[in-house]
C-alpha cells in the first residue's frame, strides 16, 4: 500500500476475537484482507450498546494500541476503516449525549461524586461485603481490558493541554507509569494481580470473555482520548475515574484480603487508595482548574465527561451484579483456571 510507512507488518498483538454480529464480522474480514468494510446501513441498524457495535468499535480503536496478530499496522490510518469508525463513534456519542444524566455545572457534577454514602450499593461494595473468589476473577478479567493498558487512553490528551493542566496531567500519568520504575507501572501491578488470581496476563486474552458493557467503558476512553475536540470530556472522565477510585479501591483491597487472593492482588488496590487520593486533588485543582482557566467554554464538556463515565459504569455494574446475584457468570465465555483454585 502506498501509505505504508514501512513494510507491511503483521502486528504481534493478540489474535482477532470472535465476531459478535455482522458489523464486527465485516470489520474483522476487512482487517484480514478478506472482505469489504461494513456498510453504513449496517452500522445504523445495530444496537448501540450491544455486543456487535461495541466490539466493532473496540477493534477499530485497538489498532491505535497494540493491533492484532496478522493485521497490517497500516490499517490504523486506513481511510475506509476510519470512515467506519466515524460512523460507529457517531452512533455511540449520540446515544451517550442522549442517555447520560446531565449536571448543569462541573461543580455540581463533581459534588455528587465527592459524597461517599455509608450504605453504597456498587460493585466494590458488593465484592467487599460478599464477593467470592470466582467473582473477583471475573471482575479482574473484565477490567483487564483497561488495566493492562492503564493510563494509555488518557496520555493522548497531553498535547491538547497547556500550562497547569498539562503539568498536572503529565505528573499523574508519570505516577500511573510507575514514576520511572518499570516494576511500578500500574499495568504491571495489575498483571501481578491477575497472576495471583490465576488469570492469564497476556494482553487481549479476555477480550472474548468481556461483556459489551465492559467494552463500552474502554471505548469511551479511546473515543475521548483520540479526539482533540473531546479534550474537555476526557479530562472530566479522568477526574471521575480518579475521584471514585480511592474509596472503591479500599473496598476491593478488602475483598482481596478477605478471600485470600494474594499479596499482589491486595497491593494493586492498596496502591490505588493512596495514589488516587492524590491524583483526585491534582486532577480537580490543576487539570480541570487549569483547563477551564484557559478554555472556560469547555465546562459543559467537562461535566459531560464526568456524567457519561457514571452512566457507563452503572451499566457495567448492572451487568455484573445482575449476573452474580443470580449465581451466574458475568462473562460471555467462562474462565478456565490457569492454576488449581478451591471454590
Amino acid at each position: 500500500m502506498a501509505h505504508d510507512l514501512r513494510p507491511a507488518h503483521g502486528g504481534e498483538g493478540p489474535p482477532l476475537p470472535t465476531a459478535r454480529g455482522h458489523v464486527s464480522a465485516a470489520v474483522e474480514e476487512y482487517l484480514r484482507g478478506t472482505g469489504p468494510p461494513p456498510r453504513q446501513q449496517d452500522v445504523v441498524g445495530t444496537a448501540v450498546y450491544g455486543d456487535d457495535l461495541q466490539l466493532a468499535l473496540y477493534l477499530c480503536y485497538e489498532l491505535h494500541y497494540r493491533g492484532f496478530a496478522g493485521v497490517s499496522e497500516a490499517h490504523e490510518w486506513d481511510p475506509d476503516l476510519l470512515r467506519v469508525r466515524a460512523a460507529l463513534e457517531h452512533r455511540f456519542l449520540t446515544a451517550l449525549r442522549a442517555d447520560a444524566p446531565t449536571h448543569d455545572s462541573v461543580e455540581d457534577a463533581l459534588a455528587d461524586l465527592l459524597v461517599e454514602p455509608v450504605d453504597g450499593t456498587g460493585v466494590s461494595h458488593y465484592l467487599c461485603a460478599e464477593g467470592e473468589l470466582w467473582q473477583l476473577r471475573e471482575y479482574a478479567a473484565q477490567r483487564s481490558l483497561y488495566h493492562l493498558k492503564e493510563a494509555d487512553p488518557h496520555a493522548w490528551v497531553l498535547p491538547r493541554l497547556w500550562g497547569r493542566a498539562k503539568s498536572g496531567m503529565a505528573a499523574v500519568e508519570f505516577d500511573e507509569y510507575g514514576g520511572g520504575r518499570p516494576e511500578r507501572v500500574h499495568a504491571r501491578l495489575f498483571a501481578d494481580l491477575m497472576t495471583d488470581l490465576g488469570l492469564d496476563t497476556t494482553y487481549g486474552r479476555y477480550l472474548d470473555a468481556a461483556s459489551a458493557q465492559a467494552l463500552a467503558t474502554v471505548n469511551l476512553m479511546s473515543l475521548l482520548g483520540l479526539h482533540r475536540a473531546l479534550r474537555g470530556a476526557l479530562v472530566g472522565h479522568f477526574a471521575a475515574v480518579e475521584i471514585t477510585s480511592s474509596p472503591a479501591s479500599r473496598r476491593l483491597a478488602e475483598a482481596m484480603r478477605r478471600t485470600g487472593a494474594g499479596p499482589a492482588a491486595e497491593h494493586f488496590y492498596d496502591e490505588h487508595v493512596e495514589a488516587d487520593a492524590v491524583h483526585e486533588q491534582v486532577v480537580r485543582h490543576d487539570v480541570i482548574g487549569g483547563l477551564l482557566a484557559e478554555e472556560p467554554h469547555l465546562a459543559p464538556d467537562v461535566a459531560f465527561g464526568i456524567d457519561v463515565t457514571g452512566h457507563l459504569e452503572d451499566r457495567l455494574a448492572d451487568r455484573l451484579l445482575g449476573a452474580w446475584r443470580a449465581g451466574r457468570s458475568s462473562l460471555r465465555t467462562p474462565l478456565r483456571s490457569e492454576m488449581p483454585l478451591t471454590f
Binding site: 459534588a111 459524597v115 514514576g179 480511592s246 487508595v273
Partner: protein, 68 residues
C-alpha cells in the same frame, strides 16, 4: 546553584475540607516519634484524622451524605 527548586520555600496547599497537599518526597514524624515517608510527586496529608492510612489521605474526609 542559586534559584534551584530546592532553595525555594516549599509550598503547602491547604483546603477547608480535604488534605494538605505538599510536594514529595515527604517525611512525617508521628506523635510517638515514628517517621513515615512518602515518595509520591505530591503527597496528600490527612487533616480530618479519619484516614485508615494516617498520616496519608484516603478520602475518608468526604461527606457521607449530600448537603441539601
Amino acid at each position: 546553584m542559586p534559584n534551584s527548586p530546592s532553595d525555594e520555600p516549599r509550598r503547602i496547599k491547604v483546603q477547608r475540607q480535604g488534605p494538605l497537599l505538599v510536594e514529595g518526597p515527604v517525611e512525617v514524624e508521628l506523635e510517638d516519634g515514628t517517621i513515615v515517608t512518602s515518595d509520591r510527586f505530591r503527597v496528600a496529608v490527612c487533616t480530618c484524622r479519619r484516614s485508615r492510612r494516617y498520616p496519608w489521605c484516603d478520602t475518608s474526609h468526604r461527606d457521607r451524605a449530600k448537603d441539601r
